[in-house]
Symmetry: D4
Subunit: 172 residues, 8 copies
């Protein structure tokens, strides 16, 4: 967690928990900032805050390791966003005990997909494509033990079902 954020934390246990249970959206370059902001927006559907961070597994590996270390005592899920040859997701996953969701912004470049999933033994980032689905996956991880988020997931899933049922009535 960043110092600037730590200063905002009130000392009640409740607040600490809410701030701790967050996503860290780590991108390899600022080129992917818009996509990462979209993930952060979608996480708000489930009441989950997030940090946006930029660091490159290729070019600033020590900085990535520092970032990982700074979150080791927090309850976080990492979301890694890197285009082209995605070294970031595996690099992050191998150097943290936290869950890592890889979400490469591949668009139609399917050939780039394989750098995100052909991991060696002991490296296990979890692939999810597109911002809203990434947010949902993060929410489900926290929802295991957190009733507030579990309810948000339930409501979200219900809305999705209702939309389809409503469409079916309209088209008939």
């Amino acid at each position: 967690m960043r110092n600037s954020e730590k200063s905002k934390i009130v000392e009640s246990e409740k607040v600490r928990e809410v701030l701790s249970m967050r996503a860290v959206i780590l991108m390899g370059s600022k080129v992917d900032l818009n996509f990462c902001r979209e993930i952060a927006d979608k996480l708000k559907i489930f009441g989950i805050e997030s940090d946006l961070r930029i660091a490159s597994a290729h070019k600033t590996p020590e900085h990535v390791l520092e970032i990982l270390k700074s979150y080791e005592d927090e309850e976080v899920v990492f979301v890694t966003v890197a285009g082209r040859s995605n070294a970031l997701s595996g690099f992050v996953d191998a150097n943290t005990t936290k869950p890592v969701i890889a979400s490469p912004p591949i668009g139609d470049k399917w050939i780039d997909l394989f750098s995100s999933i052909r991991m060696p033994s002991g490296v296990a980032p979890m692939l999810v494509l597109e911002a809203e689905n990434v947010a949902l996956a993060v929410a489900k991880i926290f929802a295991i033990r957190e009733e507030r988020i579990r309810n948000a997931v339930k409501e979200y899933q219900k809305r999705k079902k209702d939309e389809i049922l409503k469409s079916d009535k309209e088209v008939g």
Copy 2:
């Protein structure tokens, strides 16, 4: 959770938690039983128990829904294993608040991969290939709040690093 298992549960809170925090490995047909047993074995590295279940999203969808319902109050992560066109992973994910890890046993059939990742909005299974990495991903999800598992992940990652450092010394 299955009835046969419920009868085994002693009433202490401690035991309940340990049994509850488990993986449910759900396969589409018994063809994939060996691969699923390998996942279960690898989960033991991290001290995580698992249930093996067989149900088809295509052929026995109501049975899948019943299974999902029976685990809704447990602290579980689903691992879905289905070859060819993988309807199971998305189907499970859309009908539970629990995290779902899709691990299709695709081998060299990369063309089957896309059925596991091209999900519609609101459906977010997380792809991880190969048994040991699936087990590691499940462990990391539970490790967020469970110190026992977090330590198991740490030790596992340390062993992996040490193996490489040792190899480098031997080859020099």
Copy 3:
């Protein structure tokens, strides 16, 4: 068949048959409505009526099952339209005795094709791409026993041949 439609049916046997022998175009989301309407339009070439329905194998599986049940006594062919990972076609096929034609709107996304054809044993949707060809395939199924439709197919095929013969004369 929908209640709203049932009310319109006059009690003569002739009318019943004509209404019964229809296509049910089932799409996974309203995103594909235009493509489905195009199929319905093309079916009119062969004098075949159709119902448009929206339901998701992932998100509203029970609703899909209800729809299938409501048509079980009708003489229908299902046309399933779902983009990305197509769970709908196999799901529908496994839960009805009716023929199912899968027509995923894949455009240039060939990687999505395989989710429509790599079916497990006992699940057999039939793949046809593009609206006009889907309509022709439906018509040929009904044409086996229905002379009216068989004649429509014959005329259609003759028109297609004549167009080519005419083109050849013009270009020479």
Copy 4:
């Protein structure tokens, strides 16, 4: 229908119908004979007879056209089996009013798949892979109006479901 077969037909209407409602499995060369015999075997599950025929769209097109003509008054579904560049399926489909199921024996040669599905307007063979699923698709087409076959499909689908439910009990 072949002369040798016609002589076997007893004059009762019942027998005529049973013989008429059949599959014609047409292969491009005798290389695929084993695969076609497997389809014929699987059709027997549903009580459906079949003819095996060999003709090439490339090399003996007139012979293909003669075969198609000889079945035009029968209640048949064509199953076309041709490897490599599959001209046969589209050729057959364009020259008959009967439904055509294309089942290229592609194995792992996915690059051959596209010759079976990238059809021009007015040519609509329906793709189904693997012998058992081809047989099921044929059965469902006849099942629309034929109660005997519809019941066979129902029983087949029930057996498939029961197998999975049984597997789930055994693995638990």
Copy 5:
């Protein structure tokens, strides 16, 4: 050769030869007319005339066979142009003793390529992409024995070389 053309032929042997040594550009539908006209234009570089014909191997196979028969006594090379699943090239090749150059207008649709080259034994269309290269390949076939065309090929190849040598001087 078409009747309309035959009437134009003066009876001298010289003219007969020139008209006979021609390309027949056969397309599956008039959609590809512009591409075929471009081939005809490029053939003029080498002093080779061409006929444009439209016929479909799928929909008008007898018409294709008639066209092939009408050219059997001419000195022609066939150029077959058909998009999507290219049945035309193999169909033409198997039914004529003349050389056949397949030139599918695939653009970026590489998946369509394989229907043009995965031929069964005894069917051997020769693949060349793009109009100018098709014209050059036709010219080289006639150039084996025809000095006039051989010289045209030589001059064409020399121009191509000179263009590159000139570019190198300009860029230096």
Copy 6:
């Protein structure tokens, strides 16, 4: 033509023509010798002789150019056989007026195919896969003007048709 061969030529015009009208099978390395010998064997079906030559466009380009020059006054068709990145076919085609048939021995390595067909403007080798089809394509080129070879092609095509018609009778 090689000196050793020239010495064998009797001085009659007839013999000269027969020897001149030959295929030159040029391979990039001796690794492909067996495949090239198979082409030579299949050419004998059509009464066509062939020379086997080894030269590399990458490593011995001057030697390739010498070989091309030595055949410039003969009536030959070149068959180029080179695996991996096929520079040979385009190199040969750009430096001779003779027709060039590229037949890369790609087996299942489809990724190697594109080096044989993505030619720049002014370079037009013609792709044909597999030895027997290469031989047929060469024969058809010579058959345009050579009755002896045209008849051999006709007989060959007839045998192919008869085989299929015979198979159909046997399987019925």
Copy 7:
């Protein structure tokens, strides 16, 4: 080296070295001139001069060989730029002792990639995509022994790292 350039060389040893240590950017046609100029511009970041040359391995192989010969006594790295089937890179590499970097301008045409990397034994161009990375690779080769260029690489790498660290601060 070109005559026009040789005349510019002052006779001091220092200048000779600087001019000698250069890149020769050799393109197959002037179509790729803009891309090659971009490489030349990026090389200036590292203080490296370059020559632009145009020659085709297919159409002007002797000219390519002359160019290679003229640089054999210089300290140069070749950069080869050829689209479609890239014969140039392997051709250049096999005929010079200098290092060759292949940089095909493939854009999204991944199928063209394989012609640049599937080299026979003894042919070893090194693939690098995109202009700036090509320039960096050339610079690193010269940097082994040239301190001036090594420092330029160090500064360049530092700027890249600083950009990322700065981005991370801004986004936080």
Copy 8:
């Protein structure tokens, strides 16, 4: 350079240079040891020594950085060997001024290729496949200034040419 090796270095300048100009073959795990030893063997053809090192960009990044640092004052070329998602090559390249040749042991797994070449700006490993060609590429880099190695490359290339010329004589 390793301590164990430093102790062996005699103090003459000549020996220092020979030892310094070496390849460092860095593999991601000992699984690839045989392939790396083959590269080392092939380097001996050109009189080039090599070090074998094992380190993982994912699991032991600090160890990779230490290795890179230890060679920063040597005249070395790095050869990086990592299967699956190749993070190692880009990681090494971004953290050294030395040239890096990426040689992933992909075999037929072409989908793994893209992780080795889709590099971000400022990261430029050079791809060469197969051991002998990697050795040749390393040799050519050193050959720019080192006459001994340049001569070894010349002799090697001459042997390759002679082999082909000899084959051509034998096959004729």
